[in-house]
Subunit: 251 residues, 4 copies
């Protein structure tokens, strides 16, 4: 199975890591699907036009929705060989709040959208990939969980996000220990940085307007490269956890 | 505020760590409450008779129930100075299952019963404790989360438990960084062992009948001692994480 | 073997943790020895007078000197049941220096004084303790390594100290895995703080004159208490690593 | 500065990772030097003949020898842009020995050969690289420390190796925090596996004769690829620590 049989599914569909992955994977010869709550966002429509990326509507915190998603991907593209879970599930409302003031319903929602959706996506990927033939690197499939600094350290005033990120890390670690000896590469990739995405004109932007973006922020195109390298790693030397951080980041 | 003004609340009510804590804290002069889904279990009734422990019904995964619990404790015993969250939330059904075969509803239930209940209990404790006067060790209150080996390592075939335990660890870490500078001691205590509880006759037992219990298993009376020591630590030298493990345990 | 048969040896002899340990251990009924390059320092002479502490001259980076030390302790006090390695081996000259400017001979000296001396002391302790009878807590002996923040994180501009502290942590971990199943409790205790020692008049001081000392700095008397608790832990629930840090410390 | 200006220096010269790195780096257009105690080993002579690799004699535990090495490399090849420290310094004599039976002189030798030599090599690399111009990825240079499982976990019966590996990890971490904001990429790469090197005929071998080598062991050619990827990472997304482990490895 060469790259031309590679099928990538990216769950989570924003203009940052997801879009960079979709572009790079398509350019590398993969058939690519991308799933988002709203698959009609302009940024995703452009990916379809420019790169033939298939768009899927999916609330990844719903078991039935995730099951359908994978069935549709198999039908349209074939069984996935590379699945990226790229939802961090945080809402701005849960940040910078004392624990005493956090809204319990948002905390539970964060856990569901981030960690539970990671479980649902990972489970479907595992079910399908174990039936794949190993490729030239001995890999039946690769499952990558995008994670955040909070997976490495529980910062004050953001307990819910620490819970979600560390739950996702625990899931990834358990899955790696189970699935790697079956030929499925599982990776947890905490991005220890703000992300400045690439705009159409090649310049970069940050979700907070007016923030200067430079090499001080993680470049999602480079993150996508790292994911592709993980997917292509030979099974004699797999990396499970890779923390990516800009050169000037404090840690 | 001396020990005689200490009020302890233990959330989770089994015959192991919770009972040992209730006994030791009561013997140390604290007023003690214990909360469980079923507060009428014989083991809890005995704690009431022998040690004056107050029993409370509470589903700790429900925000309103946890809020009521703390109000009732304040009314009956006064504001808590020591709160122990001792629910691991696992069901036997989620263990030793390949990720592909896990039941999503049990996974979500595990997250709710363990990690989300820890958030709810920790939040109520934080709200009340910040109003306490510091005791002789400079402590306004102590919040202890009992945790498990899975907080340290995501074992294969138990992804849901890894998620729950690491989420709880992340919560504890975030709370510690926020609350310790406010005089509230937060601790995460992974018990890296099977637990053999003490029966009425002083002998010890394990939940699986017929398993020999000895120093090879963690003794909940000793765990309770460690919790009391954490509560009494001076704020110039607080420990956040303490892993307790029997001498013969592999790690 | 009760406390009255306890023999403590503290290697490293300053006015901070070593002195606090010597006082507390003696007050707890142990026979106590303390070893230092210069055992005639006034602070050690006072320990002898006030608490009957035996003083020993020892360069703990010299294999023969450490072997002699333990022979002399056995002769004078009996086989040790509690050994504390409390040398951090840093010199001010190795701090706050770019790696490019570090003096290689000081780096090697730091490794020898800190990590290699920890090996030598731990080795002699292990040789003797395995012959001890277990005490009431099932412990043949306790070996405690005082460590520092650099054991947890390699800070910039202090590479040599990071090397020494992490080497000591690695040694402690290897020894714990080997010796705990033989009844010898091994602990690594990073003190994540500046230490403000207690002076004769009860007030506290810091090695840099004019620095205000309060609960913001670790109190060596409290550290000694934590060590005694570790020594008395029952072997069903041993802690290996305990990080002690003041309530207001950033981490 | 493109790849054609890249100068790689590999310190440590065996038939495994060092040889694979030398080959791959040379094939990628770099000028390559390799340093070993005995640079006349047949495996190194072949690298010279086949790939133009320069050979240097160096005892990397000697400050003056390491300083000379870098001067000679600058003279022959130019200032290095990629330096790999690939000495683990262990001798078979220090393994599988109870701590009580370890030979102190071998322990100190292991520390010197592994951790201290890493400091010496890292220091010279840092001195030179800070004068380099950044390449297209914004990198003035890359320093990679090969490490081992013992950097992650202190195994029983191998305390000296745990000390050496964790010291090296601490050094790498301190250097990364200092040097990355100056444009020098520092990486610690624990290989959590046995290594089966590639022989001339393409088959693989292990240092213990008769051990079957397959994907169960790390392939040094793949490790070299990972090093090259680290060197080429853009500075907006640098990885510091990458653990490489075969798919079937227990961890």
């Amino acid at each position: 199975m060469g790259p031309s049989n590679d099928v990538a599914l990216i769950v989570g569909g924003g203009p940052g890591i997801s879009s960079s992955c979709a572009r790079l994977f398509a350019e590398s010869g993969m058939r690519v699907g991308i799933a988002a709550r709203d698959p009609d966002k302009p940024v995703l429509q452009k990916l379809e036009k420019a790169h033939g990326v298939h768009r899927y509507a999916c609330d990844a915190a719903q078991p039935a929705a995730v099951e359908s998603l994978f069935q549709n991907v198999v039908r349209d593209l074939g069984p996935p060989t590379l699945v990226v879970h790229n939802i961090d599930g945080r809402t701005l409302d849960i940040f910078r709040k004392p624990i005493a003031d956090a809204d319990p319903s948002l905390v539970l929602e964060t856990l569901r959208n981030s960690a539970f959706s990671a479980f649902l996506v990972g489970q479907q990927a595992a079910r399908l990939m174990r039936e794949n033939e190993p490729n030239a690197s001995g890999t039946k499939g690769t499952i990558i969980f995008t994670n955040a600094s909070a997976a490495l350290k529980g910062f004050p005033l953001s307990g819910a996000f620490a819970m979600a990120c560390q739950a996702k890390a625990g899931l990834a670690e358990s899955m790696a220990r189970e699935l790697m000896p079956q030929g499925i590469h599982v990776a947890n990739v905490p991005i220890d940085a703000a992300i400045g995405w690439r705009q159409e004109d090649g310049t970069r932007a940050h979700r907070l307007a007016g923030v200067a973006v430079d090499d001080n922020m993680a470049d999602p195109d480079r993150i996508a490269e790292a994911y592709l390298q993980l997917h292509r790693q030979h099974r004699s030397t797999w990396a499970f956890e890779v923390v990516l951080r800009p050169w000037v980041e404090k840690w």
